[in-house]
């Protein structure tokens, strides 16, 4: 194993002693801000990679599953994303992208590769007979990325904000209806909705779609 950073050693020490399992490092890694996690990965700290997997593994896997519609391919892509991040860690530049944005960027490339390979397989036989050009697969829809990001970040909001936003988003309730449903004061509903939305907005802003 590569040398562990002080950060991740101390963090790891406070976790349950089952090293190597992402949940272990993840429990501790939850405390670390994204940029420290990124710095740890760049230094070659495997525990920080484990924490990053714990934090964003389901995001990347869900992204791949929804884009590819095939769990086996999604597994493969998820694995490639984290291995790609590990092997390419020396190319990471914090000033250019936050860690989740970087991982999503790698995922977009790996998903595009998987779709290209699939399209090639499907069209190659036809192409050999009719010289039909292999069509370029569609880019991963921004909407899929955003939906997965919002779902991921909603789960990390304070419970009160999450509950209000879920009712606003999923059940399309107005603030007044949410107040009636939950028994919260209207002003409280409004403030939870605003704070939650603004927080999600900052998280999504960190993952620009045109990267």
């Amino acid at each position: 194993m590569t040398a562990l950073s002080d950060t991740c050693i101390s963090v790891r020490a406070s976790a349950a002693p089952t090293a190597g399992v992402p949940a272990t490092a993840g429990l501790s890694g939850e405390q670390l801000p994204d940029d420290e996690l990124a710095a740890g990965i760049v230094r070659g700290d495997e525990q920080c990679l484990a924490a990053a997997y714990h934090r964003w593994g389901s995001l990347i896997y869900s992204l791949a599953t929804r884009a590819l519609g095939d769990p086996a391919e999604a597994e493969d892509v998820t694995q490639q994303v984290f291995l790609g991040a590990w092997r390419g860690r020396h190319t990471y530049r914090a000033e250019r992208a936050a860690l989740p944005a970087w991982l999503v960027g790698i995922a977009k490339k790996k998903i595009a590769d998987a779709l290209s390979a699939r399209t090639r397989r499907r069209y190659l036989a036809d192409a050999m007979i009719t010289a039909v050009a292999v069509p370029t697969p569609p880019a991963l829809a921004d909407q899929i990325i955003d939906q997965v990001l919002v779902e991921h970040e909603l789960a990390r909001l304070p419970a009160s904000q999450r509950e209000v936003l879920r009712l606003a988003f999923y059940e399309d309730l107005t603030h007044i209806q949410i107040a009636e449903r939950t028994g919260l004061a209207l002003g409280t509903v409004k403030s939870h909705a605003r704070r939650g939305l603004i927080r999600l907005r900052h998280k999504l802003d960190a993952v620009p779609l045109d990267q």
Binding site: L59, S62, D146
Partner: protein, 119 residues
């Protein structure tokens, strides 16, 4: 220029503004790029949060992480004298077919064009 507070923009993005507030915000963002961008960011969240058939995120099977850790050591970064283990990239064959298709198209177009010019 004074800017709108984010809470007001959040209300609008959530569809909670009165018609009068909507009109005022609309008039402002037509003049103010910064507030417009902020409003767009908030709307991006609301659009993505609206109900879809997709449901909650999927937990990845545990074997994925196991596979990742199994391959971490493939990384040759730690042994400075080792040659980089680059995977040889095959030139994708579809490019050849793409090129062939382009040539055919151009040739076809030329013939067609020639027919039109000299009927």
């Amino acid at each position: 220029m004074t800017h709108l507070d984010t809470g007001t923009l959040a209300d609008l993005a959530l569809g909670e503004s009165t018609p009068e507030q909507t009109r005022l915000v609309g008039a402002h963002v037509r003049q103010c790029g910064r507030c417009l961008r902020e409003l767009e960011s908030l709307r991006r969240v609301v659009r993505a949060g609206r109900p879809t058939s997709a449901g909650p995120l999927t937990l990845p099977p545990e074997r994925i992480w196991q596979n990742i850790t199994d391959h971490l050591d493939d990384d040759s970064g730690r042994t400075s004298c080792a040659a980089p283990t680059a995977v040889p990239r095959r030139r994708p064959r579809y490019r050849m077919w793409l090129l062939a298709a382009c040539v055919l198209l151009v040739a076809g177009g030329a013939v067609w064009g020639a027919k039109i010019s000299w009927p």
